[in-house]
Amino acid sequence: MENDKRLKYIIDMDPIFIAQNIIMILSGFERFSIEKSFKDPIKLASLIYIVTSEEYINVVNGSINNELMNKKEYEILMNLKLKSKLVMPVVNRVLNLLHIKNVIGLSICNGETSIYVNKNSLSLFENDIYKPLSENVGRLRKIYSRIPSTSEQNYHSRVFGVVTANE
């Protein structure tokens, strides 16, 4: 592989990375059928990055609890906000590909999106290397209900915007 190709690689924009995090989140949240499906793709896009580290989950938890933040935590939040805004087109493409492959179920009805994972495809992820990610999904699940669902314009400011940096 050429050096410039290697240097250009950004893990956060890797479709495989996004696909595996989506599947782990859906399975960890037990979204296995259309009746109990994930309804908010914008929220899903932000969870993809929050779930990558225990520290990020704690920072987001602090933000939704209106806790005081230091400079570093503020930077993490801004970074998460930027990433989850940029990744939306890739998420849509990955969701479509996974749907075609029958790994996830995807339906759009009356403007409402329903996403759920096909239980059979979970056997692909039966490996210890997914354990840290699966543990983070468990942690995220505890704070998940407090992360609001809202329109695209308001979502990022509702989740990440209401913070005050303690310089």
Partner: protein, 636 residues
Amino acid sequence: MNNIIINKVSYNGDNFHYESPKLKNGLNIVTGANATGKTTFMNLIYFGLGGTVYMFYDDSKQKELIITEDKNAYVELSLKINNEEMIFLRKMCQKDRNFITVICSDKSPKIYYLDRRSNEFIFSDWILEKFNIPIFKLYQGVIDFTFNFTDLLRLVYHDQLSDAHQVFKLPDAKQNFVNDSSLLRKTIFEVATNNAALEFYKILNDVKLSESQIKYQQKIVESIKKNILYNTNYSEIRNPQHIKASLEEIEVKLNLQNIKINNIKSSDTKNIDQKDLEGLYMHLRELYNNKETLFREYESLNRELYDFISLQKYQEIEISNLNMIINTQEKLMIIDSEKCPICGESLSDREENHCICGKKLDEKKYQNFFYSQKDHETILYSRMKSIQTTEKSIEIIRVKIDVSKQKLDSIISEIKMLKEKINILTIESSNSKYLANAKVALEEIKELNSSKISLEKEFSMSIEHEKELKVLNDLFALKKEQMLQYEKLSIEVREKMKHIISDFSTIYNELLTTNDSSIITARINDDYEPVINNDEYVNAAVKAPRRLYYYLSLLQLSLMHEMPFPKLLLIDTPKNFGIDHDKILKIIDSLMDFELANHEKEYQIILTINKESVSEKMKPLIVYEIDTDKLLKKVS
């Protein structure tokens, strides 16, 4: 050696009652015509041992009306656990069926609940303790669950309802992700057969407990750290010794100011060598400057270390993610340079040096948009190299920090000594020309006092931080020790399981090949699942006996070696196996052979069979024959 021997089964209600004759060691046969209550008999035993039997429940679709409509009904099991006589009582009504009353011969009755959600020590814990099986949790992804006695009963109760394909199906629960997981099935087998596994699962539980304590302690340390940093202007927590040194400095300065004031008040005059004092003050200033420089260097090195540790953490996460990506890519195969990135269809028509749309494009540039598995592996390799570099840098910085700390400590002690010297000289001097006026001195004292208060606060908090950090480090050390023990036991258990698999397979092979001519070889694999004729197709009739012989092999093995299995088998009506009459007779013959070979040993098999299958040979072993009426008799 662990064993359970059921002596008697009774059912008492306002409308119906039943009392079995005394059951004995070894094989006990209960017979009866179809639908007379053989399954009810077995279910009464299973229910009495704490199992869930849906046919006894009001809210079940297939409820046994005689029992669900009866009033004040309860099951009484008279039994021996490890030769200790006792009685289990369990009520049938919905309100009271979630506990068992245990009456031991020399002790007062005790009530044990079956539900773990509301009680810390339940019936399962009590009975597993009797068998020296520790209480432990199993962890599967984000879910954890406690190993229960009913899990062990999966290898005791051979019921009719479970699918004959599945050796480990839990008779009383609907299949779900946890109770039919391979982890739980393997654990049950290991707990039943291997004494070393008990210690292993206990230590595994301890490791998990330590992990959760570590996480809790980390949060405490983090919150104290956050609090300290919020109240100070530093980016990292200062060492309590350094805070103490700063406090001592302030104390010395305060003393000096106090002396100044006293000297102004005093009228005494003494002659001292002012030049000496001046020289000492110059030296002290110099030392302070050096100390300040060294301290800045020390702080900046600490900051650098913190940045490198953060980088290392980030790199570790990235490596773990890359590992996952490589694995996912291999299995999912959704993105690839020869597939459309939008719909995933194969691009068989794409020519080399052309884009997907057909436009000319250098192949290298085209490939730059896709990362194959090999590319990911190369990136992973380069990231692993980077983390090694980071680790080396951390080591170098740590050495630099140690050197810097030593220099700082030596200069602090030098300052202390010089201050003492100046102090003595200053006390001797009075009415010196260096003494400032009282107002300036008092202002200075006020400022110094306020710094002293904030430093004292910081000091007490950093002591607390250090204390909690020590607890955290102790927990890490404990976990490390437990991990060592865990790894040692893990090897021991694996080794022992190899012998058990081999012994079990020998018994299993002999039982199946002797009793069924269509079977050439039988064994169990590393997941303790049966493998018949090396997994080649065998007729459907084999599926039923393979489960029963599996249970029988386990019992045989437990009679040969010391193991925690309770040496009890409950086998319900093999007629429903879906196999022909001759094969049933062969199965029962093999059970009778088993009885002949082991009749002096402490074990029990309770078998229910249809009246039509009873042969002359079996008659001496029949302990109870259900007559044409039902098992439960109406109270006269």
